[in-house]
């Protein structure tokens, strides 16, 4: 099965408000709040840990859910978050491209 990797989109703005994650999309400044599962995905999105491992270690231990079903749901959620430019997803590990590395004025 193909692995899926996630990284936080550096263009998104994010802050935890009393445990609830607020995210502003880097694409169109739409504001979102993340549910518990999405918050786990955001906090675990280091570009190196595959989604199935995140689901196994952090979602299945938190929620009473069957692993295969949880992975399918998590993948759907990750792709949705990626469509809003909140996460970056890839079938290979992601080395975060920091736009700050660009030319200085």
């Amino acid at each position: 099965m193909t692995k899926l990797y996630m990284a936080r989109n550096p263009r998104a703005a994010a802050r935890s408000l009393d445990g609830e994650m607020m995210i502003m999309s880097g694409r169109d400044s739409t504001l979102f709040t993340l549910n518990k599962t999405a918050t786990i995905l955001w906090q675990s999105a280091d570009g190196a840990t595959p989604l199935d491992e995140i689901v196994e270690k952090k979602i299945c231990t938190e929620f009473d859910v069957e692993p295969t079903e949880a992975l399918a749901d998590a993948e759907t959620l990750a792709r949705e978050l990626a469509s809003h430019e909140i996460l970056q997803i890839s079938e290979a590990p992601i080395t975060t491209q920091n736009p700050a590395a660009g030319e200085k004025r």
């Binding site: 703005a13 994010a14 802050r15 408000l17 607020m22 502003m24 700050a100 660009g102 004025r105």
Partner: protein, 374 residues
């Protein structure tokens, strides 16, 4: 305000979280706007390291929206370093306020890469002679417009911010048309702010009542004119329990020298981040908590005013008039012009004037007249 933002703001209020902060990076400026309230000399701005430390503290405190302003922020040579830190290390939603005259294609491209939410540019007129006459910098309008085009071409959100004054009283529609032509949003602020040192002479630049009346009846600006200008219902127990504004509740302001105030327009010092943690000032400053404790029912004069629940009363302007619980005359005037109903403050002043008694001329100086309160 969107439903979600409203919900988050209410949550921040309940949890005493400073959701939004304006940080002025410098008071230095390359324009000399005639209405500006700032002293442009540098009295010891925070260093890059101090600002990064402050950003760490603000992120920890829960600040989400960071508005960077000045002065002219592009005069700070470390601006891009600060922006990169704010965005990539601390994930703030960053808004910029600038005159933009130092922004060229390269700066615009970097701002896109960094991912700022919006760039607000001060534009006072669509006519060069008027705008440049306010900024006192020849060519400034052209340079600001050119910068706005660079920023727009990068897909960035640009907002023209206009301040209504005597000088540009007839130009706000021209600014709005220029913004629309460029695909840019625009705002119009009818308030001229007294200088931070208390000097109120700049208030003479404020637009007159006839101009304000036109603005408040401009459907393009206010939407439903009848609704906007309607005489408000008197306040009841519930509405009088409301907060006067968000200053000190979910927002605050930090000066280039580290001083923390409830708002940029509310120069009540509450602490300095060079001496104290930002969150300690936010949570524990006596002054901040004094501001935070005020409800509409606690206001002197205003509580009994017809306009109390609909007035734009600024507690900071009231503070600069001498009493943070008192009326703000500028806002009294706006409420009056908007609805035709004088405020309680205006009526009280009128009564005071009516009680003046003319005293006869002194025997040795026939031209002298004096007045005294009855």
């Amino acid at each position: 305000m969107s439903g979600l933002l409203q919900e988050l703001t209410e949550k921040a209020l309940a949890k005493n979280v400073p959701l939004s902060v304006q940080l002025d990076l410098t008071y230095r400026c390359n324009e000399r706007c005639v209405h500006c309230y700032l002293d442009h000399d540098d009295h010891g701005e925070m260093t890059t390291a101090e600002i990064k430390h402050l950003l760490d503290e603000m992120a920890e405190a829960g600040v989400f929206v960071l508005s960077l302003s000045g002065g002219e922020i592009f005069l700070r040579k470390d601006l891009l370093e600060i922006l990169e830190y704010a965005r990539f290390q601390r994930q703030f939603c960053v808004k910029l306020k600038t005159n933009a005259i130092m922004i060229r294609e390269r700066e615009a491209a970097r701002l896109r890469e960094i991912g700022v939410e919006s760039i607000q540019i001060s534009i006072y007129s669509h006519r060069h002679e008027v705008h440049d006459g306010i900024t006192l910098v020849p060519g400034s309008l052209q340079r600001s417009i050119t910068a706005a085009k660079f920023l727009k071409s990068q897909g960035l959100r640009v907002i023209f911010a206009n301040v209504l004054m005597v000088q540009n009283a007839h130009d706000y529609q021209g600014v709005r048309a220029l913004a629309e032509e460029l695909g840019i949003e625009s705002t119009l602020d009818p308030t001229v702010t007294p200088m931070m040192d208390g000097n109120r002479s700049v208030l003479s630049l404020g637009a007159d009542q006839a101009t304000l009346r036109g603005v408040f009846r401009d459907q393009g600006l206010v939407g439903d004119v009848d609704e906007f200008c309607a005489i408000p219902a008197p306040g009841d127990e519930n509405s009088l329990a409301a907060l006067p504004c968000s200053a000190g509740h979910t927002t605050c302001y930090v000066s280039p020298y580290g001083d923390v105030f409830p708002c940029v327009q509310f120069p009540l010092p509450t602490g300095n981040v060079r001496n104290q943690k930002f969150l300690d000032i936010w949570r524990h400053s006596d002054k901040m908590n004094e501001v935070r404790a005020i409800r509409l029912k606690d206001l002197t004069t205003c509580t009994s005013c017809t306009h109390v629940t609909s007035c734009t009363r600024c507690p900071g302007l009231a503070f600069m008039e001498g009493n943070m619980r008192g009326p703000s005359s500028q806002d009294c005037e706006k409420s009056f012009v908007r609805t035709g109903v004088p405020s309680a403050n205006m009526l009280a002043k009128k009564r005071a004037v009516a009680n003046l008694v003319q005293i006869g001329p002194l025997p040795n100086s026939p031209s002298t007249s004096a007045a005294a309160l009855a």
